[in-house]
Amino acid sequence: MKKLLFINLIVLFSTFLIAQEITDESVEHSPENSKCFYCHGNPTYSFYNEILERNVTNRMNPYLIIDSALYYYQNHSSFECIDCHSYGFKTFPHDNELQMEAMPGCFDCHEGDDEVYNFAKIDQQFQESVHSTKHSQDFTCWMCHNPHTYKINARNNQNLLETIVYDNNICLSCHADINKYQLISSDKNPNIIEKHDWLPNQISHFAHVRCIECHTDTSNNILVAHKVQTKDKAVRKCVECHSQNSILMSSLYKFQAIEKRNKYGFFNASTLDDSYIIGANRNYYLNVLSGLIFGFVLLLIFIHAVLRIFIK
């Protein structure tokens, strides 16, 4: 219970952090969007009721509220709502037919966008993932990439701990929230904290590694692995991370790893700024030095012992 509370706190805290950072006003705010935000940006909205012939204020369904600050901070911040949504939403009340409209997918716009992000490979990995194979129709890229808030982190956020929180919240948005989980499955949502009881220092681990470190099959061609595998394939052996050839170097620290490998003689030096991983962060010089000193002491003891035996 305490841990659950803690995770909730992290989620809360992180949205707070993100909200604070948004000072970037460079994006031109579309006046068209303001009209949508007038209703979809607030807990209540007003409109002129033509039957009653007066202004009426109603509550907005919380699931339909979009945070405008986060919207103008994300990848697609230059978009107008009606770039993705039907033109018909400009009128209110919205036409009921619109609820049935098909939404565009990433590939309607990013087809062939493979130079930097390698969308094709990501799609292939996603198709093989447990989410997609079990629920191919319902589970779309939007499930993890919130259309109104998704912002790339792993690639360009200097603060690794923030990226970890961001990425883990993506998974926890379902795996710690039964309401979203049940969009996909009617099964009971497994309790993440209980299911990971075998992992000591859970709070520390979840703050320093991402879910995908253990649950995906990494690939050389893409920065963020997308092939989420079944639970029996998940990383369970501690030494996968706690060793000199830590898997974290090919996932979490991939981007930094290339730049500052083995700084100051520490193995896996790029992990040092944000974590200290037992077994992965040995220092080469300290290792050699300690070996030498110990050997020297043993040698002295040996000589002393031999002399004692022979001189006496």
Partner: protein, 202 residues
Amino acid sequence: MKNQVYLYPIWVRLWHLLNALLFLTLIVTGLSLQYSSNDYSLIRFDWAISIHDIAGIALCVAYIFYLFSNRFTSNGTYYQFHLTGMLVRVLKQLRYYSIGIFKNEDAPYPISIDRKFNPLQKISYVIVMYVFMPIIVITGTALFFPEILPTDLFGISGIHIVDLIHIVTGFALSIFMAVHIYFCTIGKTALANFKSMINGWH
């Protein structure tokens, strides 16, 4: 039991036995953690973590017991020292170990009921028990509750610095232990001191 003095009361012997066993456990598991690897491991990582944690907590308890007992019994007086002339006494003892012992000279500071430790023993026991032990106990406790450590200390993670201190101190103590065990073989016979540490009489 003539000519013998009762130097090691039962609590010292029990504490010391426990302390030595825990220390060996901690060294072995600690090394296994530090050099853990994907292909081979001395001890399985998660077991090593658990054993190291449990032995560490037990060592803390034993150490606190030792501190209290030394404070409230006469055994503590053997650890008191005067700085004046300290260096001369230690050097004299060192000279004995490196030269005198081979000429069959008598030990300069023989053990008696008033003097359990020679100057070299005294200074090393004091440094080990009152400087290194506190450091390793405190850093170990901090690593056991990593959430209390600052995430950023002079630009590096707090855990990293604390862990480095922990490992370096552990290394120093391992060296002490090797030398300590060897020096314990310097007695009337090679095993005399070990017998004393079992039955209490010297």
